[in-house]
C-alpha cells in the first residue's frame, strides 16, 4: 500500500497530464545502433561523468586533506593520497576544542525541533484534510505563503523579541524558530500524502465510537509513518545545516551548534589544514551517513517539498 500511495502522490504533484495513469509499457528498444549513435552515447556519458566528478571531487579532496599534516599540504601536490593518514587530526579537533559540545547541541536542537515540527504539522494537516470547518483553506494558505518569506525580513524583530523575553542565547529560541520556519514545508510534504490516504479506516474508527484524539494518535499517525519519516529526514537536514539563526541568537560557546561553532573554531586554526578538514568532515558526516542509507527518502522529500509551491 505504501508504494502505491507514494506513486499516487508523485503523479498528483505534476499537473493534469499525469492524472491519466498509463499502463506500464516495456521501453521499445531503440532502432538506431550505428557507430554515430554509439559515439553520441559515449559523449553523453562523458559529460554526465564530468558533472558527477565536479559535484563529488571537492568532497574527496576534503577527505584527503583532513588526513594530512601541513607539511604534506604545503609541499606535496594537493591531489596526492596521504601516505601516512593522520587520523589524529580527528582526535585532536574532537578533544581539544568544543567540537563535541557543538555536536551534542546540534543533535539536541535538531532532534527536538524535528519531533515538535512533525507532530504539530501532522496535527494541522489532520485538521485541514479530515475535519470540517470553513477556514481550512485560509489556514493552509497562510502556511504556504510562509514558504516564500525571506528569513532576513524576520531577523531583527525576532532578535529584539527574544531579547526582551529573555530567550536570547537560549536553546529555546533556536528550537522554536526552527519549528516555525519548517512547519510550511513539512505540512506541504504531509499534505499530498494525507490527501490520497484512504479515509475508510478512520471512518470505521469513528463509527466504533473512538474519540478524535484516539483516531489521530492510534489510526492516522501510524498510517502516515512513511511520510513522517520523509518529512523528518528533510527537517533534520535543514536544521543540522542551519547557520543564520544560531549565529544571530546564540553567543555562548555552550549553546552553539556545529555550523556556527566550526566557523569560529576554524578561525583559530586558520593555518592548520588538517584540523580544518577533520572539523568539516565531522560536521558533514551525519548527513553523508543519512544520505547513504536513506537517499530514496531524501530524494522523495525534496521533490514533494518543492514542486507544488
Amino acid at each position: 500500500m505504501r508504494n502505491e500511495l507514494l506513486e499516487e502522490e508523485k503523479l498528483d504533484s505534476a499537473g493534469p497530464v499525469q492524472k491519466d495513469k498509463m499502463p506500464a509499457q516495456k521501453p521499445v528498444k531503440s532502432t538506431s545502433s550505428g557507430i554515430g549513435y554509439k559515439i553520441g552515447l559515449g559523449f553523453i556519458y562523458v559529460v554526465l561523468g564530468i558533472v558527477a566528478v565536479f559535484q563529488i571531487f571537492p568532497l574527496i579532496w576534503l577527505f584527503l586533506f583532513s588526513l594530512k599534516d601541513n607539511q604534506e599540504v604545503f609541499e606535496l601536490s594537493p591531489f596526492a593520497i596521504p601516505t601516512d593518514p593522520k587520523w589524529e587530526n580527528y582526535v585532536k579537533v574532537w578533544t581539544e576544542g568544543n567540537i563535541s559540545q557543538y555536536f551534542l547541541n546540534s543533535v539536541v536542537y535538531t532532534a527536538s525541533s524535528v519531533i515538535l515540527t512533525v507532530l504539530l504539522a501532522s496535527m494541522v494537516t489532520f485538521a485541514i484534510t479530515r475535519m470540517k470547518w470553513k477556514l481550512n483553506g485560509l489556514v493552509l494558505g497562510l502556511f504556504m505563503v510562509g514558504l516564500m518569506i525571506p528569513i532576513h525580513s524576520t531577523l531583527i524583530p525576532l532578535f529584539s523579541t527574544f531579547s526582551s523575553i529573555g530567550l536570547i542565547d537560549h536553546p529555546l529560541s533556536i528550537i522554536l524558530t526552527y519549528t516555525a520556519f519548517n512547519l510550511p514545508i513539512t505540512i506541504m510534504i504531509l499534505f499530498g500524502f494525507y490527501q490520497v490516504l484512504p479515509r475508510e479506516v478512520e471512518e470505521a474508527a469513528i463509527m466504533d465510537g473512538a474519540s478524535i484524539h484516539r483516531i489521530f494518535f492510534q489510526v492516522t499517525l501510524p498510517m502516515t509513518a512513511p511520510v513522517m519519516a520523509t518529512a523528518a529526514i528533510i527537517n533534520m537536514i535543514y536544521n543540522w545545516n542551519e547557520f543564520v539563526f544560531v549565529n544571530t541568537f546564540i553567543s555562548s560557546e555552550n549553546f552553539k551548534t556545529l555550523t556556527v561553532g566550526i566557523q569560529n573554531f576554524i578561525g583559530q586554526y586558520s593555518t592548520d589544514w588538517g584540523a580544518i578538514g577533520a572539523t568539516l568532515m565531522i560536521s558533514i558526516l551525519p548527513i553523508l551517513l543519512a544520505f547513504l542509507f536513506l537517499s530514496n527518502r531524501i530524494v522523495e522529500g525534496i521533490s514533494a517539498g518543492s514542486v507544488k509551491g
Partner: protein, 292 residues
C-alpha cells in the same frame, strides 16, 4: 460522525499551536520589520519615529543598489543555469544506465551545511595551496588570480559554489517531472518519426512547463535572498564587491547597529521577493494549460 469531525474546540486544539508559532515567529515579525523601518534605533535603546527617512535613504544609497545589483546578477546567473540542468535532466531521463545513481551524486552538495561548503571552497580557491590554482599552475599559468580577493572576480568565484550547491536540486526536480510523462506519448511521437530533439523540445519540455515555472521562481527568489556563502566566504568584501542585499542588511544591523535602516532593507527585501514571485507567475502564465 460529522459532529465529531467539526467540533471547533478540537479543531482549535489541533491547529492553534502551529498557527501560533507561524504567526508569532514569521508573520508578526515581517510587520514589525516594516514598522521598525520607520524608526531610528540602535537595537538596544529606545526607538525614535522618523517617518520614511530610512526608506528614502535606501533609495539613495549606492551601496544598497550595488548589493541589489549583485543579487539580481546571481538571480540571472541561476536562472540561466536552469537551462543546463534541464538539458542534463532530459538526457538522464532518457534511457541512461545509472541515471538514478548519477542524480543522487549530483544532489550530495545540496545536503551539506553552507558553512562546510564555504570553508571547503575557500580552500579550493586558496591562492597557493588550493586545487584550482594548483591545476592552473600545472598547465602553465604562472600567476593565477586571487579568486576571493580580486574585486572583479570575487562575485563569480562565489557564484560557482552556489551553482555547485543547488545543481542537483533542480536536476532532481526536472528528472522527477520528466519521468512522470506517460511513455506512450513519447512512443507515439517516435513512431510518427519525431527525432529525439523534437521529442525533447516539442513534447517533453512543454509538458513540464509548470514545473519549470516553479523552478524559475525558486531560483530567482532564492538568489535575491541569498546570504550564507557570501557572508561566510567574503562577508561582502573586498570593499563591497560581493555584497548582496541580505548580507548588506545583516551588516547594517549586527555590525553597524543601525537596526532601523537594516529593518527598512529587510522589509524592502520582502517586498521585492513577493513582487518578483507574483511578476514571474504573471509573465509566464499561459491562458490554458496544455491538455492531451
Amino acid at each position: 460522525m460529522d459532529k465529531a469531525m467539526s467540533n471547533p474546540k478540537v479543531i482549535m486544539l489541533y491547529t492553534l499551536p502551529a498557527l501560533f508559532l507561524l504567526l508569532a515567529l514569521i508573520y508578526v515579525p515581517i510587520v514589525q520589520t516594516g514598522y521598525y523601518g520607520l524608526m531610528k534605533w540602535n537595537g538596544m535603546g529606545s526607538k525614535e519615529f522618523i517617518g520614511l527617512v530610512n526608506y528614502s535613504r535606501l533609495i539613495e544609497d549606492p551601496l544598497f543598489w550595488s548589493s541589489a545589483y549583485h543579487s539580481f546578477l546571481l538571480a540571472l546567473f541561476s536562472t540561466l543555469s536552469l537551462v543546463g540542468y534541464l538539458l542534463i535532466s532530459v538526457i538522464l531521463a532518457g534511457k541512461i544506465k545509472g541515471a538514478n545513481t548519477l542524480r543522487k551524486i549530483y544532489l550530495i552538495p545540496m545536503l551539506l551545511a553552507s558553512v562546510a561548503i564555504a570553508q571547503l571552497w575557500m580552500k579550493i580557491y586558496h591562492p597557493t595551496n588550493g586545487i584550482l590554482n594548483n591545476l592552473l599552475m600545472s598547465i602553465g599559468i604562472e600567476e593565477p588570480p586571487m579568486w576571493l580577493a580580486n574585486p572583479d572576480l570575487v562575485l563569480f568565484a562565489i557564484f560557482i559554489p552556489i551553482i555547485w550547491q543547488y545543481a542537483g536540486f533542480y536536476i532532481l526536480i526536472y528528472y522527477a517531472a520528466l519521468k512522470n510523462i506517460p511513455e506512450s506519448l513519447v512512443e507515439s511521437a517516435r513512431i510518427d518519426g519525431a527525432t529525439a530533439w523534437d521529442i525533447a523540445w516539442k513534447i517533453k519540455i512543454p509538458l513540464i512547463m509548470n514545473v519549470i515555472k516553479v523552478t524559475i521562481v525558486l531560483a530567482v527568489v532564492g538568489s535575491l535572498k541569498y546570504f550564507d556563502l557570501i557572508y561566510i566566504m567574503t562577508n561582502g568584501g573586498p570593499n563591497g564587491a560581493s555584497e548582496v542585499m541580505a548580507s548588506y542588511m545583516y551588516g547594517q544591523a549586527f555590525r553597524g547597529f543601525d537596526f532601523g535602516y537594516a529593518s527598512a532593507i529587510g522589509f524592502f527585501l520582502l517586498v521585492i521577493c513577493l513582487v518578483i514571485t507574483w511578476l514571474i507567475r504573471k509573465v509566464t502564465a499561459t491562458k490554458e494549460e496544455i491538455q492531451y
